[in-house]
């Protein structure tokens, strides 16, 4: 689409001068088409490297992990010194704590987003809330772990337990769900609300009967994404859930999530087969959640 400059040298209009400046910068050593081709190639390379890295990681984990996945591995208990056998309790611990975190986080995050999107007037208070949410989203996970340990485990006396870890994870998920929910609510067209108001609905009726249902798909996407994040979290749960291999029943039970199991196996460096198997299962679960989120978001569009 770029016309090659073939104007006579004598008449330099301002248009021509800009064209030249654009074409060659101040000096005209490299032809602009060559520069174009090279740089587009560079960008393409960047994108390909990114994709390649993803493929490499997934392929590596799949190739090394797949031979060790079996029903016995998934549903068995770790045995003996080197955690041979299965990883069932760690899968249950991971799912348990994530579900609990979701139950704690979702109502708060959704209602908070409702406030920000529907009720709040822009002002310093809302600014503060947004700043807080952004800060919360960027708190390093190990700091969240330290805090969770100091508050939930020690000060509140919940011990190293599912509920301590779930609370800390909920804090991690809160800003994610809050942001996606707020965006979802804002994406609901105004005229639907006006229609409802016109029929005499109160604000809560509009929100609960009109806005939230129509934003449901995108809210669900946000929740599922946050779940994916929580499942993969290690530093937060390492010091809030404990490391005991245990099938959790009550929320006060301790347990060992898959991520921590993988960390300990990798550190021990003895039974690497189990580490690869755990890594693969963990990745599959997270990928499944992410793909589900993509599916939800496409459906709601």
């Amino acid at each position: 689409m770029a016309g090659t400059g073939s104007a006579p040298e004598t008449q330099l209009t301002s248009r021509e001068r800009i064209k030249r400046a654009l074409a060659n910068g101040k000096t005209g050593r490299i032809s602009k088409d060559a520069a174009n081709a090279v740089m587009l190639g560079v960008f393409r390379c960047a994108a390909y490297i990114t994709t390649l890295v993803l493929v490499a990681i997934i392929a590596y984990v799949v190739i090394n992990g797949a031979p060790h996945i079996s029903p016995d591995f998934i549903f068995g208990w770790p045995q003996g010194v080197n955690a041979e056998g299965g990883i069932w309790p760690t899968i249950v611990s991971t799912l348990y704590v994530t579900a609990l975190a979701m139950l704690i986080c979702t109502p708060i995050a959704v209602l908070a987003a409702v406030y920000l999107a529907e009720y709040a007037k822009q002002g310093r208070l809302v600014e503060t809330i947004r700043y807080a949410a952004d800060t919360l989203a960027s708190v390093p996970s190990i700091v969240m772990g330290l805090f969770g340990y100091a508050l939930f485990v020690e000060a509140m006396g919940l011990g190293l337990s599912m509920v301590s870890a779930a609370c800390a994870l909920a804090l991690l998920m809160l800003p994610i769900v809050m942001r996606t929910t707020e965006e979802a609510i804002r994406a609901v067209p105004r005229y639907i609300r006006w229609g409802a108001y016109g029929l005499g609905a109160t604000k809560w009726q509009v929100v609960s009967k009109i806005v939230l249902p129509s934003a449901f798909g995108r809210i669900a996407t946000g929740i599922v994404l946050a779940i994916g994040r929580a499942i993969g979290e290690t530093a937060v749960v390492l010091y809030t859930m404990g490391q005991a291999i245990n099938l959790p029943i009550s929320p006060l039970d301790s347990g060992r999530p898959m991520t921590v199991h993988l960390y300990l196996l990798a550190n021990d460096g003895i039974n690497m087969n189990a580490a690869y198997g755990t890594a693969l299962l963990l990745m599959l679960i997270i990928l499944a959640f992410n793909l589900f989120a993509r599916y939800l978001s496409r459906k709601s569009r």
Binding site: T51, L125, V139, M144, F147, L151, P175, T202
Partner: protein, 306 residues
């Protein structure tokens, strides 16, 4: 926790007409719900304050028993009563800087390719790949770094393979999705008209990208880089598994170092007394860093809006 703060913005600005039409009980219910929603939203503020206050409380002896001179010195030797975090902070800085040098061109480049260059078909493949890359948990990156990248670095450097170089490679991969996604947002927000004007002047694609698109999106890209930086500084598990955990200023990029986050994670399991307070002190430092980075991003975006 919120009763004092709620009244200010609500009562002043609410139009009277809207609620005068309903019965008193409905009005009260609506009002109560509104306060509930506000309480939920305000919880974010409460939590952030709590995190800071609580970590600070645990770290209080840093000021009294350890002393700031000790805390901000180079020697980290908890068993000998020396709790200097500077070499750890230097490790964090070194690791983050290298990750940015590698990760920013890759991330921004990928974003530019996806928004400006790629065909819809290619985009449909690479764009989900970036999303999936963002979803892979840090422990898997760490594991991958430990079993693949570390031996590789050991091979080329002749050392153990633990150190900044390995951490750079791992962290660069990890921050690419963050930077890419945010840069894509920034690039998409630039009106097509600007690009078309550029093309109409006879500019090549690269010229439009370099002279028009990137300058126009610069604030958004800086946002992306700052947030990627936050991710790199705060990353714990992946770093812990590849840096070698030696709390010293390194001789080379291939010799073991330690960072604030990894040292906390490593020591937390057995530390007690002053050692533990020092870890919480490091937590406070990390919290302040990440909160200021967010503050910078917010300031930038305010500037951008005018």
């Amino acid at each position: 926790m919120n009763s004092t703060d709620t009244q200010r913005p609500e009562t002043a600005s609410r139009p009277k007409r809207e609620l005068a039409l309903v019965s008193r009980s409905t009005y009260l219910k609506e009002r109560a719900l509104q306060y509930l929603f506000f309480a939920c939203a305000f919880l974010a503020v409460v939590t952030v304050v709590l995190i800071f206050a609580f970590t600070m409380l645990q770290a209080a002896p840093v000021f009294t028993d350890i002393g700031l001179a000790n805390f901000f010195s180079l020697d980290w030797a908890p068993t000998e009563g020396r709790f200097g975090i500077l070499s750890l902070a230097a490790g964090s800085a070194l690791v983050t800087a290298g990750a940015l040098v590698l990760g920013v061109p890759l991330g921004v480049g990928t974003a530019v390719y996806l928004t400006e260059i790629a065909s819809a078909r290619v985009r449909a493949i690479i764009s989900p790949a970036v999303d999936l890359l963002a979803g892979i948990p840090s422990i898997i990156y760490g594991f991958f770094g430990m079993v693949i990248i570390r031996p590789f670095v050991a091979e080329i450097s002749g050392g153990l393979g633990f150190g900044a170089l390995t951490a750079w490679l791992v962290l660069a991969i990890m921050i690419v999705p963050t930077i890419t996604t945010l840069t894509i947002d920034a690039l998409r927000s630039i009106p097509m008209g600007i690009r078309e004007a550029g093309f109409a002047m006879g500019a090549t694609k690269w010229q439009v990208i370099y002279k028009v698109v990137l300058p126009a999106a610069r604030f958004g890209i800086v946002d992306a880089i700052v947030l990627g930086m936050g991710r790199a500084i705060g990353e714990t598990m992946a770093v812990l598994m590849v840096v070698g955990n030696a709390p010293v200023i390194p001789d080379s990029v291939a010799s073991p170092i330690s960072t604030l986050t990894s040292q906390i994670a490593l020591d937390m399991s057995y530390s007690s007394g002053l050692h533990r307070t020092a870890l919480f002190g490091m937590g406070v430092v990390l919290f302040i860093i990440s909160a200021s980075l967010v503050g910078i991003v917010r300031m930038l975006s305010k500037k951008r809006k005018g």
